[in-house]
């Protein structure tokens, strides 16, 4: 095995070898996977030629089915068929109660904040259900990229709604981990749509992304400026979509055909199918012949427009609100992008064009556009494209804060701050000898903690006992490029780092994920151990490789002999552990090496910043 490949910094270890990455649109109703092949991004179809995978999972006593087959069972076996599970991601049991009407499931008691649904296969949570959908999509991606023989994906970009909070994003990432996918990035859906149209290139502009699916409507106002994609505002309606169109047209047919209103489920279903077919044929034709039983009539575009307009009006009102929130006039929007199957309806396009005063982008299939944007970004992130292209800087959608006295929120990181971001906050003890304290992190814009979303509670332990107010604990909140929060703490005077126990309010703890991963393997424990060892070895290879590159580049300039010796010694230790078979030992050695190389890494950063800024003469500023 080529353990230590040498590569130039910024390049993949084997530049000639294409990496295999996919983009995944994990939707409420439908999901898709896309990839870049021979330079262009395309959605990947299953063996039947369908690119759309219904986001439905059926749990039988022994088998789990995903997609069309699962969706078909929703009517006969609603309790065991999970649909629209995305609505439950990162949500607490209390939130679920507010959707209670629409969801037929039996919720089991669970000791975490995360809901569990009783099924024939035992209790499952939304993360596990989403993982099943992701596994199916990943398998489709592997087959497309490797053929039947199979191979591993190098990574995936998964899209999430722009308004998703930390808990919802974390739940999505957990689902990917459970599905065995390496997440390159969580990407906002509207940003992905804009990327699919190449709108990330070019001048500063405002983009509106109008996303009308089967059951949900989202409007996002984005601003691209100086290479930064900023989500200015989002809005929409979680219970409005093309299904409403079908129901309204079906109602019209029932009325015209005089079949009455008290209809059985089968009649309703067939009316809806006729309605949907008529709606679709009016995308091309001026009028459609509609038949039901012995009744037959013509549905023309004007009639359909009058039927659909009340729904479309609702979406446009949401657009107005979003524009107002963004502080942008409709005439300032330079690009409009259509997403979602329901934007195929001609009337929707006409009205959107009229509203924004410009023709919307609809050249890319609106069902596929988000997955295609994700695939393009995945291709860049995995290193198949030159690094000059496509840098997306995202912002945090909701402010992050902590609870203070009296249930008030103190904001630490404001919404719309470019991520990654990190903020430190100092805390002190209020009792003599106090060794622990609790911190409650929330996300939202409101002043009262009870009006914000609870993200997590942290307990700082191991604070050295001192008199009240003497300990200064510096807590660093860090949000990474996916919008996910992590926390570290240190007592300043003693330099002792306090242990932090994270208890996500609506999420899974690491040990839960580990347990679920374990459960998902049907084989014995050695499989898991083998996988852990392999993962540790791959990570060790990466670490050693980048250390070698770093040393070769500027080890001589930035390290003295003793430091160099110590590093080489630690590397040798890791190399030996790598060839042994103990995952734990590899992790330990790796951590030791990383710790030891921290000062070197910082010096390297300093040097590379100075290099990057070199050539800028300082008198550029003397104006």
């Amino acid at each position: 095995m080529a353990l230590l490949q040498i590569s130039e910094p910024g390049q993949s270890p084997a530049p000639h070898q294409r990496k295999h990455a996919v983009g995944i649109d994990l939707g409420t109703t439908n999901s898709l996977v896309a990839t870049v092949r021979s330079g262009s991004a395309e959605a990947i179809a299953d063996e039947c030629g369908d690119v759309i995978l219904p986001s439905a999972v059926h749990y039988g006593a022994d088998t789990i089915t995903v997609g069309t087959e699962a969706r078909a069972r929703a009517a006969e076996d609603p309790y065991n068929t999970m649909i629209s599970i995305k609505r439950l991601m990162g949500r607490g049991v209390a939130d679920i109660k507010s959707f209670g009407e629409q969801l037929p499931y039996h919720f089991a008691d669970s000791n975490s904040g995360m809901p569990a649904i009783e099924t024939a296969a035992g209790p499952v949570n939304p993360v596990q259900v989403s993982a099943e959908i992701l596994k199916k999509l990943a398998a489709r991606g592997r087959e497309a990229l490797y053929g039947k023989s199979g191979g591993e994906l190098d990574g995936a970009v998964i899209t999430v709604p722009a308004y998703f909070d930390d808990a919802q994003r974390q739940a999505t990432k957990d689902a990917a981990q459970l599905a065995g996918l390496k997440v390159l990035r969580l990407l906002n859906e509207p940003t992905a749509a804009a990327v699919a149209y190449g709108l990330d290139k070019g001048e500063e502009r405002v983009i509106a992304v109008y996303d009308l699916g089967g059951g949900t409507f989202d409007i996002s106002i984005l601003r691209l400026s100086r290479g930064v994609f900023e989500v200015l505002s989002t809005g929409g309606d979680t219970a409005l979509g093309g299904d409403d169109f079908d129901r309204t047209i079906a109602g019209w047919i029932a009325e015209q055909a005089g079949v009455g209103t008290d209809l059985d489920a089968a009649t309703q279903r067939s009316l809806l199918d006729i309605a949907c077919a008529a709606k679709e044929s009016l995308t091309g034709a001026e009028q459609a012949q509609v038949r039901y039983g012995s009744w037959s009539d013509v549905l023309d575009r004007a009639t359909m427009a009058s039927l659909l307009d009340p729904w479309i009006d609702k979406t446009l009102r949401a657009c107005k609100r979003a524009l107002r929130d963004a502080g942008i006039g409709a005439d300032e929007v330079q690009e409009v992008v259509l997403v979602g199957g329901s934007t195929r309806t001609l009337r929707v396009r006409e009205r959107v064009e009229d509203h924004f005063g410009r023709a919307p982008h609809a050249e890319i299939d609106p069902d596929q556009v988000v997955a295609i944007g994700a695939a393009l970004q995945a291709d860049v992130l995995v290193g198949n494209k030159s690094s000059e292209e496509l840098l997306l800087l995202d912002v945090i959608p909701l402010s992050l804060g902590i609870e203070t006295m009296g249930g008030l929120t103190e904001k630490l990181i404001d919404r719309n701050t470019t991520i990654p971001v990190s903020k430190a906050q100092e805390f002190t003890t209020f009792k003599d000898g106090q060794t622990a304290m609790a911190v409650h992190v929330v996300q939202g814009e409101r002043e009262l903690v009870s009006d914000c979303r609870s993200l997590a509670r942290f307990e700082l332990r191991g604070i050295p006992p001192m008199v009240a107010g003497a300990a200064h604990i510096r807590v660093t909140f860090q949000v990474d490029a996916d919008g996910l929060l992590s926390v570290a703490a240190m007592e300043k005077s003693s330099g002792v780092s306090a242990d932090i126990t994270v208890k996500p309010s609506y999420g899974l703890e690491d040990k839960d994920i580990a347990r679920m991963l374990q459960e998902s393997y049907t084989h014995a424990a050695e499989d898991i151990a083998l996988r852990a060892l392999r993962e540790a070895q791959v990570e060790a290879e990466r670490t050693l490789e980048s250390m070698l590159v770093a040393l070769r580049e500027n080890g001589a300039q930035l390290l003295d002999e003793r430091e160099l010796n110590e590093l080489e010694h630690a590397m040798e230790g890791l190399r030996l552990a790598h060839n042994g078979g103990d995952a734990e030992e590899i992790r330990r050695r790796m951590e030791a090496l990383n710790k030891l190389s921290e000062p070197f890494a910082a010096r390297r950063m300093d040097a590379s910043i100075q290099r990057a800024m070199q050539g800028h003469s300082l008198d550029e500023f003397d104006k």
């Binding site: 990190s422 490029a481 800024m613 550029e620």
Partner: protein, 175 residues
């Protein structure tokens, strides 16, 4: 900390109050192109973590440098003077002026044309801000840190007032 460099050094700049925004923006893009975590996805975990810290530090430096009040505060901090926000000034004349301006803001609602009155007030406050920024720049340039500190305190007052004017404008617009 991913780097030991200060915010100005990160951007390859000498510490100074005057700063060209377009150059700052261009260098920001350049730095992000090099250090954003997206450029490190296939690297080792520790390098990825370092990239997150680095990008966060670049973002922080950018946030501080592009905002005149934060930039002024940071310059003084580098010079060893900490100026907490919400600090008061002892310049009674300045305080009187502030009170008058605030009264004016309160009375905008009752004016015949509130939008125009607000506009006028805004122009006045923006003018005061520019003047105070110039004073800070001169004082800092002349290394008279005490005068610079005094200017910063006044700037903090004025910028807060400007925010309140913005908020009032928003209220007017929404109703």
């Amino acid at each position: 900390m991913a780097t030991n460099l200060n915010h100005f050094e990160v951007f390859g700049l000498q510490p100074a109050f005057e700063l060209d925004r377009s150059t700052l923006a261009a260098r920001y893009r350049e730095l992000q192109r090099e250090f954003h975590p997206d450029k490190y996805v296939s690297r080792s975990d520790s390098e990825q973590l370092l990239a997150i810290k680095m990008a966060a530090q670049i973002n922080e430096a950018h946030t501080v440098l592009r905002d005149p009040v934060q930039r002024a505060g940071y310059l003084l901090k580098l010079a060893g003077v900490e100026v907490p926000p919400e600090q008061t000034t002892s310049d009674t004349e300045f305080l009187m002026q502030q009170m008058l301006l605030r009264e004016q803001l309160e009375e905008v609602r009752d004016q015949a044309d509130p939008a125009a009155a607000l506009d006028e007030l805004n122009t006045e406050v923006q003018g005061l801000i520019s003047t105070e920024e110039r004073r800070f720049a001169e004082a800092y340039g002349a290394k008279s840190l005490r005068a610079a500190e005094e200017s910063l305190r006044k700037l903090q007052f004025l910028v807060k007032l400007a925010h309140q004017i913005d908020e009032r404008e928003e209220d007017l617009f929404n109703n």
